[in-house]
Symmetry: D2
Subunit: 348 residues, 4 copies
């Protein structure tokens, strides 16, 4: 199988390169970079091992152009590009390849919500209906048949995974308060002053509180789908924080439970939702992000306190929060085992 | 003025040593260490500068014993000791010196709450009534006359500072959801495996969610004092998180406002509460912890979202969250300017 | 093939567990821990993935005792134990299994040098002659036939890899000045105050300069073997430094070249030494440690400045510097491809 | 006294702002920023405390223009600007104010060496003769009378401090091998991809080895001054490394001693050189960078190994390596105690 990566030089692109390099079903990779096409892969990224050389020999082991990638007629295209740019760059591949888009361009279905979040019209409204939201554990059937998969945001993935089983059962009353912490790689590989080592080491901060972060709209959309309420009536509040780690995301969600929901029902809701999902674990102790680093896992722990429940979930934002879930979606789409080519072990 | 430090070798003790070394009103310091009395200060802590030498010459520039410190008849005693041990070690100083206790031994006034939080009876119930809770901005009058000051916990300081102005005005409805992030020094200088560099770098996690952390009881106590509700009816939920920074604490509090509370009223509540408080700033942008590192400041920002308000506050857990506030309390108690001897500038 | 791990709860033990879990030739793993035998593996180390479960089912997916491991009659035993203790714990396996010892117990061949470095007699002098020094690229033939492999230290591995090709050719004149930086995991997982996060973040320091570090003796031994000089005449100086990273080691070696050595000869020396070694790369730019993190690679760059040459080498101290090379040695010993089961890609 | 800061928004500028804000002899500060003149100081740098407000009221507590600063006729001007740009921006102040230039523009006296290091002619060759090299402990007399002070580079400060006492006494034979580690702030506050948090956390690397770093020329110049050898015959080799800390620099220097030099002579050389220097300490254990963080100290330890000596020195690159030494030079120039306004205590 042939795979194209668009935007290979960002962090998610580099992770895709590593994952596909190890993926037994992928035989050819076309790593596109519009800015440095022609540059040898190992010069740009000396961390790459030799397995990449065999699979990228069509491109001379170098970044290739978009045109070269279009010609290659890849079976699958991973777009690791900025939102609002991604839909446009992907255009030549629609209808030709399965497109897995890691940007936000196809995630938000409602026009006004998209405009609120991204400041302009969705770039390809014609494709919104067919684009499948790639939260893998919740949309497997649709993903199997999809030609365009909107890979979820990292915060929504880490927030929705522990939340949806309870929401779907109607167990949650009142507001959902989500507080999240993200590693710096979530902001991408941009030469911005506020992302410098000296600006981020030994400091933490909140940003975009309440409903002002774009991912809040994405979370609200998926919650509304299950509650049947209009999204504008959603009472999901989401406050992200930046923490000085490279990769990793931890989400703490505070909910009120409806009267009478038992612990056994909660446990059963999680079991029913995830017992056949190899990448979701309900763990007996509060997880830390290092235990999922470099893996596609989302580890979830819940803690009951009267009618309150606290959900603690962790992912690696570059893996389950981006490139790992993208490969999982490819696996589902092409009928491979969901685990294929994805590493299992977190950091020691 | 003569100052005694009990438990000088911990992080808060070391900060006290630095602050008092620079404090113009302190002429003699007696740094107690039961474990390494006699060891030269600069051998243990080569970061100390020369100002310490003049002020500690009575002890030969070395850690001294408790007996030596008792004999010295200090004007003020700072106890930087573990809870449940502190009250006992401080015993010889009660009645002789003003005691500022950085442990939890005198913070919780209610016996059953203390037992719930600390697993046993308060060590000196006879002194609980006279011990003043040293949240400096809220108890100045009492501190002025106190002989025993219970210096607040770091989480309570960072949580109560943004919350009390709203609580006191009766603006807050329903539950208060506090999520906090603390630097690792908050756990003290203990040789524990889970505090090793390799266990804490590049990872974050929640712990003690809901109402299970001891500091939650302390926060609830102070909130209940202002709402008039019984503490057991308190609906303050508090979930702390460990983040890989040495010093620093950021708290994000989510509240519902009562109908009709205007932004102007909120601004006025903060102004009224803190306009004469040099260490509290209401800042126009969400603060990060580095801007208060090494200072006694608490920087607070609030963000309104409909009937929700989000409070973001930052402190340095070793300064405003411990030793800095202890010195501020000494300043208040002895009639000095509150700012005396406390550094102003955060990290670049 | 059955593998035993002794000392599984340390960092090198945990890495071995991950590597063997993924190794296609290993079907059973016996993870020994004398302190917590019986504890479920995933409880102690929630970062482990499910592949571990199948391979450790003989032990009930828990740490096992030494007796259980002896009974299992493993084909290979990895000893990840402290020096001076390792030889003793391994005793039951000698003659039964191939033993790969990650401690220093069998590395130093000369008694007085061992005593100088480790403060006592070698624990098993009878086995020193047969123990093969497992610097994989330099002792392949011996490793193929070895029943006891002394896996090299991390500093020696990173220092000798760039140095031996030049030493072996007789290109180096005068003293060899080695300066090394190690991540904190090199000190192991010990609950010591000086390894706490707060003691190690945002600080660096040298330690054991000159010839005072034990690994200096190990480096000198291997250099002397190639120069023919007595070890006591060695002029290798080695100064290690601790840097605030978890994993990674960078070595900068400064040598004087004999007159007339050309750049082409240097390049040829490296090519001859390593062209068939999949884990050694001579790279065109100075490497950083992240590019080898999590891999078994040693990346080397050399820089000529007149008659001086500067060698820059990087490894992951837990992989090529310990557990990775141990698996590489197993691969060589049992006739597998050297790359089997070892990850290729460094950090993004 | 009135002080001007040129280039206030960089890290060294921000440190200068903090130091001068606390300096008892400075009553007015004119913080110049060509890019954001008019922006309130506390908006750009919310870590600043209130002391800055009184001293900057002439500028309305905002960054000012160069013209405003020229008009102010400051007694002292600190130029914290990029090399090759600094001399030009400082032009209006020559003859009017004492200029302390933190760039390299006036450090290198020899034209061809300057060209080798900086790629072009020195920008103001006419001023090179009168510019005093501001290595404070070695040029006090000249500094007292200087109108232009070339503040040394961070690496030269940390390297020369332990080296010059031995060089000056003629104790050193053969090559001097310097290996240095610098925190990332040494690279300045530039929005460059290779300085991002994600590129620098958990990794270390060497760069510019041998004689290829500009600061090597600066070190060689000062060494040659004391040995009397021509700089081109200098055998100082210098290899810097980047380590993931914000502030801090550690230098390990390996020298050969001339025959017969005793330990007592070495100790005496250091005592003679620094006994009246409050910011240099010869310490009994190898120092780490945290013990000097935020101070103007250089802590030095030496270790003898036969005819080899190893010098370990640490500074804070932003303080003794830049802004701290600049203030120390101001103190010397204007007849204040050298310690005035400079913090004493390193990190706990």
């Amino acid at each position: 199988m042939k795979a194209v990566i668009l935007g290979t030089t960002g962090y998610t692109g580099q992770v895709l390169l590593r994952l596909l390099s190890n993926h037994p079903k992928i035989t050819r990779i076309y790593p596109v970079s519009s800015s440095i096409a022609g540059t040898p892969l190992l010069e740009f990224d000396p961390g790459l091992g030799n397995a990449i050389l065999e699979k990228t020999k069509d491109c001379g082991n170098a970044f290739c152009t978009l045109d070269q990638a279009v010609e290659a007629q890849g079976d699958v295209v991973f777009a690791a590009l900025p939102h609002l740019k991604s839909a446009q760059v992907c255009a030549p591949f629609f209808g030709q390849s399965v497109v897995i888009d890691l940007s936000a361009d196809f995630r938000i279905k409602d026009h006004s919500t998209f405009i609120k979040a991204y400041g302009q019209e969705p770039p390809r409204p014609d494709l919104l209906a067919e684009a499948v939201y790639g939260l893998a554990e919740w949309n497997r059937d649709q993903i199997t048949k999809a030609s365009l998969i909107a890979n979820p945001g990292c915060y929504p993935t880490a927030s929705l995974t522990p939340l949806l089983p309870l929401i779907s059962q109607g167990y949650v009353a009142g507001d959902v308060i989500i507080n999240a912490m993200s590693g710096i790689s979530g902001a991408g590989r941009k030469a911005k002053e506020n992302l410098l080592f000296c600006e981020r080491t030994e400091t933490v901060n909140a940003y975009s509180p309440g409903t002002s972060h774009r991912h809040c709209q994405e979370i609200q959309q998926e919650v509304s789908l299950r509650t049947g309420k209009a999204q504008q009536d959603s009472t999901v509040y989401f406050t992200p924080h930046l923490v000085p780690i490279k990769q990793g995301m931890a989400v703490t969600t505070t909910c009120q439970l409806n009267p009478g929901v038992s612990d056994a029902e909660i446990a059963q809701a999680y079991k029913a939702a995830y017992q056949d999902s190899p990448w979701i674990r309900i763990v007996p102790a509060i997880p830390d992000t290092s235990q999922v680093r470099g893996t596609n896992r989302c580890d979830v722990h819940w803690h009951r306190d009267g009618d309150r429940i606290f959900l603690m979930s962790v992912i690696d934002n570059l893996y389950k929060g981006a490139s790992g879930q993208a490969v999982q979606n490819m696996n589902i789409r092409f009928g491979f085992d969901e685990r294929t080519g994805l590493p299992e072990h977190g950091e020691v």
